[in-house]
Amino acid sequence: MSETLEKPAAPASGLNVVGTRPIRPDGADKVTGRAAYGADFNMPGQLVGKILRSPHAHARIVSIDTSKAKALPGVKAVITGADFPPFLADELIEGGEAASSMRDLAWNVMARAKVLYEGHAVAAVAAISNDIAEEALSRIVVKYETLPHVIDVEAAMAADAPLLHDHIFTAGVETKPDKPSNIAQRHRFARGDLAEGFAAADVIVEGRYTTKATHQGYIEPHACVCAWGEDGRCDVWASSQGAFMVRTYCAKVLGVEISDIRVTPAEIGGGFGGKTTVYLEPVALLLSRTSGFPVKMVMSREEVFRATGPTSGGVILVKLGAKSDGTIVAAEVELKYQAGAFPGSPVGPGAMTALACYDIPNFLITGWDVVTNTPKVAAYRAPGAPISAFGVESAVDELALKLGLDAIAIREKNAVKDGVKAAYGPTYRDIGYLETLAAIKDSDHWKTALKPGQGRGLAVGFWFNVGGESTAAVHLGEDGSAVVVTGSPDIGGSRASMAMMAAEILGLPVERVRPMVADTASIGYSMLTGGSRTTFATGMAVVQAAEKVVAELCARAAKLWDVPVTAVEWRNGQAVCLDAAKDAKPMSLATLAAQSARTGGPISAQVALNAQGAGPGFGVHLCDVEVDAETGAVSVVRYTAAQDVGRAIHPSYVEGQVQGGVAQGVGWALNEEYIFDANGKMENAGFLDYRMPVASDLPMIDAILVEVPNPRHPFGAKGVGEVPIVPPLAAVANAVRGAIGVRMPDLPLSPPKVLAAMDGKAG
């Protein structure tokens, strides 16, 4: 079962709502099918939009003839890359690096001179029906000049590799290269003296580990309905992790004013980072402008796989040197990540997090960002970190085996704690890593012996979590109820947490607080929902807005009682008069709200902030597996995940984040991968062969929530959503090693590979 462990000094006393488990406020809509997701919305007169995609992994576009498509009755618009504003490679747009990534985004939304992956959008049509739209696509004639392609990251780094872009010169190296390459950037983090460190080591382990590209796997494909009015005003309904992000990206790609676009966030059927960018919206908007009608576009599952960002496949080289007592004295890590068609793999954060759980005096971490003829990678839950953690945690496992130390002992020996400098630079404060290790050590799982044939693996993980810009508004109704408005799309139940935090401050029962997610014209700017930021940053804005409302309520009471406002205190949803001489009975929020017109006007507050001081999170995972000797199939039979969550606002949804991250990590470890044929086409672009965990693949997942509060958040919350996906890859792989006695360094550990490893060992 899942449980919450509280640090004794945590300010838990006096909380009425935070920490409880109310029914989520949007629950009835979601269990009855009423909630409206991206594809559930329609605009009158809308057309169907569809995209023509490249069949080649790498090719020059010689010509596109859309005339036959345009001539088909029922077709109202046909567009290609030429219809979008040009972003030229050498054009300097304000924002520097940001501008070049806007160019890459625009070129990804629709190809210009080249197609860079199978599935790359080449043209689009809008028609009065599905069938006519598909017929129109088949009538577009594209002439390609195919080029050699490259998918494997090391092949793409080779000097003679097919070149994707002429304008990429490796950044981050001592001398700027004179020839372009596929290596966009080198990252480097270093400390101490590596050679000295290894020289002092009693034991050295070295390993080469690999992972394949995996997809976020959200069940809801991308969908939007867009309308470009004759007056230039645009309306977008989209399933996205960030309505403001959609607004900004559409504005930049299409060259329109931000104020001319309003984006309404639909309910979103999963994102995990994959919906932090745009694919369809700029296309649908342009089709709408061209046709004069709204356009609805919904991706098929196949399109989701062929044309939206997975995360990188990678190569991780790890060398660790340690004393015989287990102290790690030197570490060298090299990471090579696929970026897909345009630069921007998460190798930077992968490098920064690789050694984040360890206090090592000498290390060198190098990360390479490499373009490949695969879909441009998009963020995927703790981007980059699961990949580097897989390599490092497998290597630490090897080290522990060599030294005869148990998995927790070796990590305790080298653990980071408050006051220790993180591998990526700053000094840690208010972290709960040691407490989280202790939670696993004290767990029933750790103390339960394995059955014969089973293997056990442990791994740890880290993620920064971010803060950023959020706006929240709190309005009181005349009956003493409250509405909380934010701009943070609700992916995992965050509406509940917003209502709970507001209710706590206002002193209302949570059922009287109604949370809303508003469109971009109705609430101030908010950074997207991702980076484990919503409970922290949007929560902070909600709390401050509620506090302003409370201050205003006290001011109204002070007026009514004719006392200074310092003589009024807010307790449990009531204004209390501290001046005994007045003999005044407390006034409830409802009473004050009912009189608000006469005491000064509506009671309402908005707070817009840029939250700083987000606290990082640590996870420690323990996994038991059984391996079928005949088929090589790996079953996860027990899984316990402990995590430092700061404070669990709604423990059920925090547990849910942990369990969901674990499930994705298990899939990444055991079955999920992009499989390409010799022509660079994805062979398994569907859920049958891109095999994600199903209910029968997993046991119950025990989440242990360790609470070491982040003092920067009003309730001590830390981000929780991303950490849980970081440890499972190695936790599972280390367990398999325990079960079969063979280290398997290449993910996924699909049955044929496990069988071969077992047979290889026997034979």
Partner: protein, 81 residues
Amino acid sequence: MAHVVVGSECWPFTGGASAFEVEGATVREVIASLDARFPGLGAFVDRKMAFAIDGEIHQDAWFSPVGADSEIYLIPKIGGG
């Protein structure tokens, strides 16, 4: 003076140097001081780097305070998924 440490991303501007004592009571002032010493570094840092001030991460925050003895690490800006 705050003690500022930069990583390899900044070396093209600093000629490979990593650690400096820098004037400034806010992030914005520190950026200006860095730019005065290494032209171009200011704009680069503003666009690409986050400030870890005494262990706390500040990103896009010009007016975050910097103490007289603060330890500042510049790390690449962090996103999420």
